[in-house]
Amino acid sequence: MESVFAIVVGGLYAAGIYLMVRRSIVKAIFGLALLGNGANLLIFTVGRLTAGRPPYIPAGSTEALPPVADPLPQALILTAIVIGFGVQAFALVLIKRVYQTVGSDDVDRMTTTDTLPGGGTQR
């Protein structure tokens, strides 16, 4: 089971990085989303996969019978998903505004902030 997850994580990372090295900022943001999902699945996988054993404590007992699934990685992923959602929503609005202002989604057209202005002032 772990090997399937490992391959999926690797695929998500590869696809995310491939998209990020493209020149289009839309692809870059999608790449970031894939990278975030890859990281979440990675946490899930390295936190040990335990299928069908929720960490419930049986009636009359004070602790769960091992092996049980570790709930902490899932709590971490939940937090990371919420943060990722907020950040990606912001990034989507940002690329829309950039497209409206610059008229292109090509990062090569967005060089006014790191080239020397030819004596003129910033737009």
Partner: protein, 503 residues
């Protein structure tokens, strides 16, 4: 008294909430900003006094037993950083009273500064590595919005570079945290430190350490991961650039120092040549980039990168002297660089531009402002008797004592080039004749009233005085930094304060 640890988090949070409730009242938001940051500074000072007297403070939020809950920890290094964050927050809040455009205020500029400070203080105080990720994200989202708030082409272009690079760093950080949990089974930094000291590390620990190094290296703008910083920082309003330069990259450096002195000490020792080389190249790349610039904000942005190199050098050398020097350098560079940025804001208001070729003759118009600039600039370059001299002396001393001559030579050479950059700004903006003829025609008439000049000049003057005081009386500051360095090198006090056991 451990509830004192929550104050640096609650104060900016409450100021931000109050400012958001008073959405249509920028006057109230300004008041909240100044009061909130003043209270933050006061709580930082109280925390510092408490930690110095009573040792490392720790509290478990929600009373969850360690290591299951989120710990908040303050050792001397954290307390110093919280105090510095409060001081810079107050300086920027006062400066913003007179130099904030109405369109920024309508979009919640003042509450956003408080949220940024919340994220920064949270990063300094947390004792849980996943919680550190969450505070980083709080800080980042506030900085994203502050950077893009202007809505002009330059702001949006800067924001897209800043956002993408920082999100890549966050994804790496998150992956590293996940793998670390899988290997060690805990996220509490003190518990991790104990586990990795008891069992000699093996397996993926070095890989995890390098993932952290790259993630925090991007955030701290370490060579070769610094390109986003000079491309984005200079577009924002001066007050925003000041607080970014003072705190955001320094949080990255703080996280590097914390993780690598507490948890991954062995990996730091193994990778020492690499880290020192990165430090040397960071210094050189920053200062050489600055040489080509003729706009004050771009020039100073490159110098942020250059100064980060000195901080990383102190971490890489890993001796008592070098860590104390790093902490001293951190306080010095935050004060001096913030003063320089705030003075740049005054220059911009006086002359209507920050292009060196169009400036000139400002010494005649405001000798006081020119004097402040000169003192801060010489402090940054490291001229005795100002603070930068003592900071660099400690680092150079530590470098020679441990036999790392290459990086020491780089540090000295970069100091000279820094001095060259600073004299360039001085002679172009303040000393030479104001350019005559057609260049002057597009200068807007200076609308700077005396009252608003004072509101902008007082924070800059106080920061300049800090560098002078640190230069003339380095002894008490050094004593404090030495104690902080001892706590970093001997983390038993940190570990036992958090875990509640003597090891």
């Amino acid at each position: 008294m451990n509830s004192l640890l929550f104050m640096p988090l609650l104060i900016p949070l409450m100021a931000a909430v109050a400012g958001t409730l008073a959405w249509k009242r920028p006057d109230l938001q300004k008041l909240m900003g100044v009061c909130g940051t003043a209270a933050l500074l006061a709580s930082g000072v109280m925390l510092l006094v408490d930690v110095r007297r009573g040792g490392v403070l720790s509290v478990q939020s929600g009373s969850w037993a360690v290591p299951f809950g989120i710990s908040l920890v303050a050792d001397l290094f954290s307390a110093i950083m919280v105090t510095v964050a409060g001081a810079i927050g107050l300086a920027v809040a006062v400066y913003s009273l007179s130099d904030t455009k109405p369109e920024y205020e309508q979009l919640g500029y003042h509450p956003l500064i408080q949220i940024l400070l919340l994220g920064v203080c949270g990063s300094f105080l947390t004792g849980d590595i996943f919680n550190l990720y969450v505070w980083f994200e709080v800080m980042l989202i506030a900085s994203f919005v502050l950077l893009a708030l202007g809505g002009k082409r330059s702001h949006l272009e800067a924001a897209i570079k800043y956002v993408v690079l920082n999100l890549i760093a966050s994804a790496l950080f998150l992956a590293a945290v996940g793998i670390l949990y899988g290997v060690a089974g805990t996220l509490n930094m003190a518990d991790l430190a104990r586990l990795l000291r008891e069992a000699p590390n093996n397996g993926p620990i070095p890989v995890i350490a390098i993932l952290f190094l790259v993630a925090f290296g991007i955030k701290a703008a370490v060579f070769p991961l610094f390109f986003w910083l000079p491309a984005s920082y200079h577009t924002a309003p001066i007050a925003v650039t000041t607080i970014f330069s003072a705190l955001l990259t320094k949080v990255g450096v703080y996280a590097l120092i914390r993780i690598f002195t507490l948890i991954f000490v062995q990996e730091l020792e193994a990778w020492q040549p690499f880290i020192l080389a990165a430090a040397g190249f960071t210094m050189a790349a920053g200062v050489l980039g600055a040489v080509a610039q003729f706009e004050i904000r771009r020039l100073l942005s490159f110098h942020i990168v250059s100064q980060i190199g000195y901080l990383i050098m102190g971490l890489g050398l890993l001796t008592r002297m070098s860590l104390a020097g790093t902490i001293f350098f951190m306080i010095h560079v935050i004060a001096a660089k913030s003063a320089l940025f705030l003075i740049t804001g005054i220059v911009r208001r006086m002359a209507g531009t920050t292009e060196l070729k169009e400036l000139g003759g400002l010494y005649c118009r405001r000798p006081f402002v020119a004097g402040m600039f000169l003192v801060s600039a010489l402090a940054l370059a490291g001229i005795p008797p100002l603070s930068g001299f003592w900071a660099k002396l400690a680092l150079v001393w530590a470098g020679i004592a441990t036999g790392h001559y290459m990086v020491t030579a780089a540090a000295l050479l970069v100091s000279i080039l820094t001095l060259f950059s600073m004299t360039k700004i001085w002679s172009e903006a303040f000393w030479k004749e104001a350019p005559a003829g057609e260049n002057r025609t597009h200068f807007p008439v200076s609308t700077l009233s005396t009252a608003s000049l004072w509101l902008m000049a007082v924070p800059a003057a106080l920061l300049t005085l800090t560098t002078v005081a640190m230069g003339l009386m380095p002894e008490p500051f050094y004593a404090l930094c030495m104690e902080a360095a001892d706590q970093l090198l001997q983390p038993t006090a940190y570990i036992s304060a958090v875990l509640g056991v003597v090891i």
